[in-house]
C-alpha cells in the first residue's frame, strides 16, 4: 500500500495555508518556495495543487547513492546523510514535485505527513492510501535484475 497526499483542485481556493504550514514545519520559515506542496494559480480563481504522488518513483530509480528510498508506508523519503545534492531527482520528476532551494544542500519533497491537511479550510487535502502499481514496483524490479548477490544466491 502507498500512503499519499490526495489533492482536490476543485476545492482549492488558493489561501496558501498549506504552503505556510509545510514550510514552517520543515524550514521554520513561511515561504512557498520552501513548501513541499505547491499551489499554482490557473486564473479565474482556479488552482492546481502539486505534490508527490509517492507512486511514480522515478527519483528512486535515478538516485546514484540510493539516498531516496521507499518507507514501509510506501512514502518516498530522502536520507540527507546519503544525499549528495546532485538534483538528478529534480530533473526526472515528471510533475516537479521534487523541490530544491538555491543554496540548499538537499532536495525535498512531500512525505504525506498531513501537516497541511489540518490547515485547509475547504477539505481539499487528505491523507489516503492506494495500491502498489507497476510504476511503484519498477525501481525494485530493475535492481533485482542486476544485483550480483541475488543472481548468485548470495555469492558474488
Amino acid at each position: 500500500m502507498i500512503k499519499y497526499l490526495k489533492m482536490d483542485d476543485a476545492k482549492c481556493v488558493g489561501c496558501m495555508n498549506c504552503t505556510s504550514a509545510c514550510s514552517i514545519k520543515y524550514f521554520k520559515e513561511d515561504n512557498p518556495a520552501l513548501s513541499c506542496i505547491e499551489v499554482q494559480g490557473k486564473g479565474k480563481n482556479a488552482f492546481h495543487l502539486v505534490s508527490c504522488d509517492q507512486e511514480c518513483r522515478r527519483c528512486v530509480a535515478e538516485c546514484p547513492t540510493k539516498a531516496i528510498s521507499v518507507a514501509p508506508t510506501g512514502i518516498v523519503v530522502i536520507n540527507k546523510n546519503l544525499c549528495v545534492g546532485c538534483l538528478a531527482c529534480v530533473a526526472v520528476c515528471p510533475i516537479e514535485a521534487m523541490k530544491w532551494y538555491p543554496g540548499g544542500k538537499n532536495p525535498f519533497k512531500c512525505i504525506a505527513c498531513g501537516a497541511c491537511v489540518k490547515t485547509c479550510p475547504k477539505d481539499a487535502l487528505s491523507i489516503e492510501e492506494k495500491e502498489d502499481s507497476p510504476a511503484s514496483r519498477f525501481p525494485f524490479e530493475v535492481e533485482a535484475r542486476v544485483s550480483r548477490k541475488a543472481a548468485e544466491g548470495g555469492v558474488k
Binding site: V90, A91, V142, E143, V146, R148, K149, A151
Partner: protein, 720 residues
Amino acid sequence: MSLTIKDFKLLSERNYEKKPVQKGYNMRTLHADLAGKKFTEKAVSEDMKRRFTGGKGFGLKLLWDGTKPATKWDSPENEIVIAMGPVCGNTNYPGSGKSLVVSISPMTGIPIDSNVGGYFGPYLKFSGFDALELQGKAEKDTIVFIDGTEGRLAFYEAPEGLEFDTHLLAETLTHVFAKDEKSLQAVSVVSAGRGAERSPMGLLNFSLYDKRRQGIRVKQAGRGGIGTVLRDKKIRAIVVRYAGVEQDSNGAVDPAAVQRIGLKLHREIIVNDDKQCKMRKQGTGHLMEVMNDYDLLPTKNHKYGQDPRGPEIASWVWEKLFSQDLPDGCWFGCTMACAHAVDHFELETGPYKGQKVCVDGPEYETAAGVGSNLYVYDPHGILELNFYCDTYGIDTISFGTTTSFLMECWELGILNKERTDGIDLSWGNWKGAAQILHDLVEGKRFGVLACKGVKFLAEHFAKEYKADPQVMKDIALHGKGLEQSEYVSKESLAQQGGYYLTNKGPQHDEAWLIFMDMVNNRIPTFENKAEALHYFPMFRTWFGLQGLCKLPWNDVEPADNAKHKEPNKVPEHVENYCKIYTAITGEPMDSELMIAQSEKVYNFQRAFNVRLGHGRRAEDYPPYRAMGPVFEDEYLARAERYDKLMKERIGVDPVAKSVREKVAITRKWRLEQYDSLIDAVFKRRGWTSDGCPTPEHLEKIGMDIPELIAVVEARMAGKA
C-alpha cells in the same frame, strides 16, 4: 573475499590535517615516495594555479619537476600523477568526476595523459589533495591508502592470496578498506591486472561501488600504458576512502549557480537524449551504425570503413544487452549515465570460464576496436574481450588495433600457426584474440610478443619473417608508438591531423573533425583545417584541466543548437562551462580565456616532448593506412571516390591508368597534402616547422618559464 585489514601488513603511516576544499582547490598535492614509504605534502603556488590551472596541467607540471630529460618509463623517478582540476567533484553538472592521469609512457617514451571516471578523483580531492604523485619503486607489492575520512595516509604490503585481476582485486579491497558494509560506496580503488605486468599497453581501472549491483564497477585510464608503470612500481593498488560527499564539497563560490546550471543540463538530457544520441540507453555505442553507414567504422585493420554485417553490432544490439533504467553515471550527478554494463554475462574462455560477471561496456572504441576491426560481429565475443582486457589491465584500443594488425598479417601469410604457437588469427576469430590475452597473463611467448604493440611488431616481423618493411610500416596503425583509436581517418585530411598532430599520439580526445571536414566540407582550405586543429585540441584540453568529461558537451545538444553560427562548437554548452567555472572558482571565464588556459598547458606538453628528445615533425606522420589505400583491392573498394578525386583534385585522368599506378599517384598526392597541413597547423600553433614551440610564442602565452625556454632554445639551436 575472506581477507580483512588485519591481513595487510602496515609498512608506514602518518596523519595529515584535513581542510575543506575552497573554490575548487585544496592548494596542496600529495607525493608518495614508494621506495622510502613516505608521504609528503606540497603546497600549490598561485603561479602554478595560474599557469597550469589543474588536472592534466598540474599532472604535467609535477611530472616535469619530478623527472629528468633522460627519464624512461621504467626509471624509478618516473611518476604516475593523478590530478583532478577545480570543476571536478561538483555533483550538479553532468560529467564532473574525471581524474587526469599522466606518466612517461612505456609505449611512446613521452608523457601520456588519460581522462578517467570513477569515484577516485573526487574522493582524493575531498580528502584534501589536488593531485597525487607516485614516484620510485616499491620493494614488494604495495597498497597505497589515502583515508580522507580519518586524515590518514598509509602503505600496506599486499598479502598472500590477494588477487591481481581487477574484477576480484578491487572488489576485495573495497570490502577490506570500507569502514563497514554500509560504507562500501565510500571506497574507490585504482588497479591494473596481470596483463599490465607483461605488456606496455597496461591500463588503470578506477572503481566505483554500485549499490544496486552490489559490486564494483570500473572505468579505464586506458591509453599509453600507465597500468604498466603502476605494476613496474610494484603497486598493486591505490585505495582512497572518503565518506560524506555533499552538494558543496567542492567549496564553490556560488553553490546555487552550480545547482542552476547543473539542473539545466540535467533537464536538457532527460528531455533531449532519447531524441538525440540515446546515451542513457546505449552510451557511446550509439555511434556504431552511424560510423558504419559513413564508411568510418574500422573494419579489418582500418582497411575498410564498413561492412554489410555492421548492423549485427549496432546500437540497438547493445541497448538490448545493457541493463536499462539504471543511474549508470561514473560520478554522482551525471544524468548522461553512459557507463553501461552487461550483467550476469557468462564467460566462455579463460580462467574465469563459466563464471557470470558484469562487463563494464563496451563503449564505442571497444566495440569497434575488438569488434568490426577484427571482423568480429558476435557481441558475445566483443563482451568477452572487453571483460578480459579490463580485468587483466589491458587497453582495449591498443589491443584491438594490435590484434587487427596481427590478423592482417595472418591474411598476408606473414603469420601462421607455427609462428603464433597454434593460435588461429583468421578474421573474426575472437577466441583467437582472447587466447592472446590468456597467453599473455601466463607469460607464454606469443601472447607476450603480440601485446608489445604494433610499432614493435611491424619491425619484428620485417626482421624475423622478412615481411616487406614498407607494408609493415604502412599497416601498423600507430603514431609515436601509440595505436590509433577507432575511426577511419583515410578520407579526412583534417582528422589525420586530428590524430597525428597530437602531443601524445593518435587518440580521439583532441579533435574529431571527420564530419566537419569530410561529410559537411566546412573546413576546405589548409588554413581552415589549421584553425580547427588549433581550436578543438585547445578546447578539448580544457576538459582535462578542469576534471571534466567531454561527452556532455556535444553528445547532447540544446534543442535549438542548429540556429547558432557555429553549431559544432555547441555555444550554449560552452557558456555553461564558463559559468560553472566562475561559480566554483570565482574567477572570470569566457571562450577566449578557455583557449588561453589550454594553450599554456598544451605548449608545455609539447615542450616536455622536446625535453625528452622527441616532439619533432618526423614523429607526427601517420602510417599510410591512416591516410589512404595501401593495397590495390583497398583502392578498388572505393574506386569511384578515388578516381573522382584523382580527376578533380589531383588533375590526372584515371582512365588510362592501371590500379597500381593510381594507388601510387593517390599516395604521392596525399602525402603532399599532409605536409602542407603540418605547415599550416604548426604555424597556427606558434611552432617552428619542426614542431617546436618558439620562445616568443611561449612568452606570448604566459609560459616564459626559464627551464622551458631553455629546452626549446636548445632544440632550435640544434643542440637537443
